[in-house]
Symmetry: D2
Subunit: 143 residues, 4 copies
């Protein structure tokens, strides 16, 4: 596997994220992934809002997660994000969520379609592909 770039988003666990037992509720990790994706696209210069204004959306069509250590209230956590696949009308993100001292809390992935305003699959804009490629963990599958 070739070297690739990783994007890091930092966040603080709030009471709103937690549930009974003093740890983060399992579905909230997907909120964390979404916040990280939003931060990543904005940093690339194409916020989801910009893309939506241009007629593109990236709905989640599949997601999964593995839970290791439970994150707790007030912890500072890091969401690391990269691409595991970048196809013509689809892209996959990989994620690792770690504590500030790099213990693994969660890893997961989300798969997104690229769609137009009528929810039809469309080719990911070339300018975006160019900016995403350095974050791709393996040679692109552009079939």
């Amino acid at each position: 596997m070739q070297a690739h770039r990783t994007f890091r988003h930092t966040l603080r666990v709030a009471y709103a994220d937690c549930t009974v037992g003093n740890h983060v509720y399992y579905a909230r990790y997907f909120d964390f992934l979404e916040a990280a994706r939003g931060d990543f696209f904005r940093t690339l210069g194409h916020s989801f809002q910009d893309l939506e204004d241009e007629g593109f959306a990236f709905p989640v069509i599949h997601c999964e997660g593995d839970y290791r250590i439970a994150a707790r209230y007030d912890e500072l956590i890091q969401v690391d994000l990269w691409l595991t696949s970048l196809a013509r009308i689809r892209l996959d993100f990989g994620y690792r969520i770690v504590t500030d001292d790099d213990r693994l809390l969660f890893h997961g992935l989300t798969r997104h379609a690229c769609t137009d305003r009528d929810n039809r699959g469309v080719r990911i804009p070339g300018v975006l592909v160019e900016k995403l490629t350095p974050y791709l963990a393996a040679p692109p599958d552009r079939g």
Copy 2:
């Protein structure tokens, strides 16, 4: 104060509603009020979706809540709802949330504007006023 009708919405507390300390997170009570309002309007024959399709929205412009006993995971709770004010372009709801054995958990209110698609205040539709009036706790303030 004259007699008035009250609408009751029943729900079950889920892990998603709770936080550290094994009780419902304070902001989630407002989710419960919203679910009760939606159920109420649907029962009146005008779901918020129907109203939105007809060009009306009822955004919250003020809300408040008082917390008594904390609701807990898996509790069956009752949200009682009525109107405390019904004006030309504004309406106020009162709420009590109680346990199945009628202990008071929370009471609160929400104030809503009636707006059109351009977010301008408009008169509440007459057919809706008629159906809402029996739930009004005091003589209507129709100024």
Copy 3:
């Protein structure tokens, strides 16, 4: 595959579940699965609260979901739930979420460990195994 029982939990989509674009936010489907699991265990006669009081917990260690049609505000939806694996200290649930007229919105799974108060894996109580078995989609993997 042998015949098996399925548990059905019904719910109504609220504004709190939705996001930009007038559809349910992707992570909220996992809230729906959790509400269905809670309802299922309670119906079996062993609520998660009861089990927790007896020293057992069932933390999610893996989950995944596939999104088909987006659920929308005010829709009445059905969460169907069954077991896809029932091992000594681990159990997997399968789920389908469908509209009232049986169009598939989402399917997914959650994997749970059975743990004690110190978060160590323990054998699923026999009385629970007996009640869960009819919902198992395939011959039990009791390895």
Copy 4:
């Protein structure tokens, strides 16, 4: 009214915060207030987690909010926080949420009891009172 200090917490609106209509869901503003309070206490040197470990909790007993302009996806917003009352076993926070260019989105307040592990009202620790006082908008009501 004497001069007082204000604490500012910055956050970015995520899809998880929004609902139908492309704006923040009304209850989520209270999540924002909670994140700001947590940040504030941590900055004072007493995180809620520290305080809880020492046996103190600050449950919300009342809250209210007024909605002006709806916050939207991806907006960077500022939560300004100060104290409006600091009594023996109770404290009130005032909040303003503004856009990056200082347009008012929301203002509100939360009232908190100071309690011990048995949920009984106890005196707010003196060291905390000292640190909170500069943020008090009016002469303390220490009755």
